[in-house]
């Protein structure tokens, strides 16, 4: 769930294209894949310790489907199809509305003051990735345009955003229990921060 938006050939190829011709090409491509994998493993390890029964939130729609087990199979198929559409759409609409509001009303120049400030720039870029909620196939082009931010801050944007953004948090909150969502967000944040701080030590 966490690794797939980052560790796939399309996203890594897009990252390669976005950084092609730059000195930091390979730190970005390999750093994104490596750190994405580390974050996913770390979160899996943390969440894996929790009780499985507490992970998923009960959905009223599922109970209704059980009630209608006497219906023909094709009718239950369309029941699941429309139920999942409406269930996911409400969270996507909510998350997309927040992201659209931020894109429309908040100038990105508010971040300019923290470019180059240790740790703060990493947190700021993770916050921006959360709010912009970009698709992981195209976010590398946006990250590459933040030339005043270093490799590690751009990497924080590219690793944190595909795992935690407004749409995803809305979906996680609708699907999983509160504790699971809190643990996941905090673990992704902490491991991405630690990883990108190491990247700063290695690559500046």
């Amino acid at each position: 769930m966490l690794a797939s938006p980052i560790i796939n050939p399309v996203v890594l190829a897009a990252t390669y294209v976005a950084y092609r011709g730059r000195d930091d090409l390979w730190p970005m491509v390999l750093g994104r894949a490596g750190l994405g994998l580390i974050v996913a493993i770390a979160v899996g390890w943390v969440v894996g310790a929790a009780n499985r029964d507490q992970l998923l939130r009960p959905r009223p729609e599922d109970r209704q489907v059980d009630v209608h087990h006497t219906e023909p199979r094709w009718s239950r198929f369309f029941g699941h199809l429309s139920g999942d559409f409406v269930f996911m759409a409400k969270f996507l609409v909510l998350g997309a509305a927040v992201a659209a509001g931020v894109q429309t009303f908040v100038p990105q120049s508010v971040l300019a003051g923290v470019a180059g400030t240790p740790v703060l720039d990493l947190v700021a870029m993770m916050g921006l990735a959360f709010l912009l909620s970009l698709c992981s196939e195209s976010d590398a082009f946006v990250a590459a345009s933040f030339v005043q931010f270093g490799v590690s801050a751009q990497l924080a944007f590219l690793v944190f955003g595909p795992m935690i953004d407004t749409k995803l948090v809305a979906l996680y909150a609708g699907t999983y229990g509160r504790g699971f969502v809190r643990t996941t967000v905090l673990a992704v944040f902490a491991v991405t921060l630690a990883g990108t701080m190491w990247m700063r030590v290695l690559f500046g």
Binding site: A14, V17, A18, Y19, R20, G21, R22, Q64, V67, H68, H69, T70, E71, P72, R73, W74, S75, F77, F78, G79, L81, S82, G83, F85, V86, A89, K90, V93, L94, A96, A97, A99, A100, Q103, T104, F105, V106, P107, Q108, S109, V110, L111, A112, A115, L132, S133, L134, C135, E137, S138, D139, A140, F141, V142, A143, A144, S145, F146, V147, Q148
Partner: protein, 246 residues
């Protein structure tokens, strides 16, 4: 012996379920919006050519889901419609209403102002593509991201170019200049980045903010900036594809 799953209860009366009917209608409205985007060519205002396939595929799948849900909306145990369900259905329709009823517009100078001045196009052009052939705004934006590409662009100083974009003026833009802007999208408008060149030798007071123009002139890279000394500027209608895509 128990009834097999999928068998109706004998003698039971089937009635319309308000929840299922509404779900079918909501999905149907989404399907109609997708068909409308496809029929009117409005897809290009939201998606890049690379992701535009989502609209025809979505149109077919959503239509299929809507018809299926409406066809299965009669049941022996109709679900009631709670206020919460009605609110959810209304919320899901908000994007469709926005697309269908808000004025048609592509991103303009206001959107440029929301993106910081360091968040310009993140596309990198290769020096090879800049060495010869016609230069595009995408090439110019890409050249600004790499020293090697910028050196290649400098070697093309004085090259004749024709760029189409919209007029952007800032508070400190001289009256005989403007910035020609075009947005570049990779997947959709959410990831739009601006490609810009300064246009000089503009007749003062002739072109308005956000007006689409075609600029012909000679291109001169100056430091990290790129300017076009205009020899001809003419208003043009907004292109069918208002955004550039790499």
């Amino acid at each position: 012996m128990s009834e097999p799953i999928g068998s109706p209860i004998p003698g039971a009366r089937r009635r319309w379920s308000p929840q299922r009917v509404l779900a079918g209608l909501v999905i149907g409205v989404w399907a109609a919006a997708f068909w409308w985007l496809l029929a009117t060519g409005q897809t290009q205002r939201y998606l890049s050519p690379r992701t535009a396939w989502l609209v025809p595929v979505g149109s077919v799948l959503l239509s299929f889901a809507a018809v299926g849900r409406l066809a299965s909306a009669r049941t022996e145990e109709p679900e009631g419609l709670r206020r919460r369900d009605a609110l959810v259905f209304a919320a899901v329709l908000v994007p469709v209403i926005a697309v269908l009823f808000l004025p048609e517009a592509s991103l303009g100078s206001y959107a440029v102002s929301r993106r910081s001045d360091f968040a310009r196009a993140g596309y990198v052009a290769s020096a090879d593509t800049l060495e010869s052939g016609d230069l595009t705004l995408l090439d110019v934006a890409g050249a600004q991201q790499s020293r090697e590409a910028m050196r290649a662009l400098v070697r093309r100083a004085g090259a004749r170019v024709t760029f189409v974009g919209f007029v952007t003026r800032y508070g400190d833009t001289p009256s005989d200049e403007f910035v020609l802007t075009r947005f570049i999208i990779s997947c959709c408008v959410a990831d739009a980045l601006s490609a810009q060149v300064r246009v000089v030798d503009v007749p003062p007071g002739e072109f308005e903010q956000d007006e689409w123009v075609s600029v012909t002139g000679n291109l001169y890279p100056l430091g990290s900036d790129v300017l076009v000394q205009a020899t001809g500027i003419e208003p043009v209608p907004e292109p069918d594809q208002p955004y550039l895509s790499p």
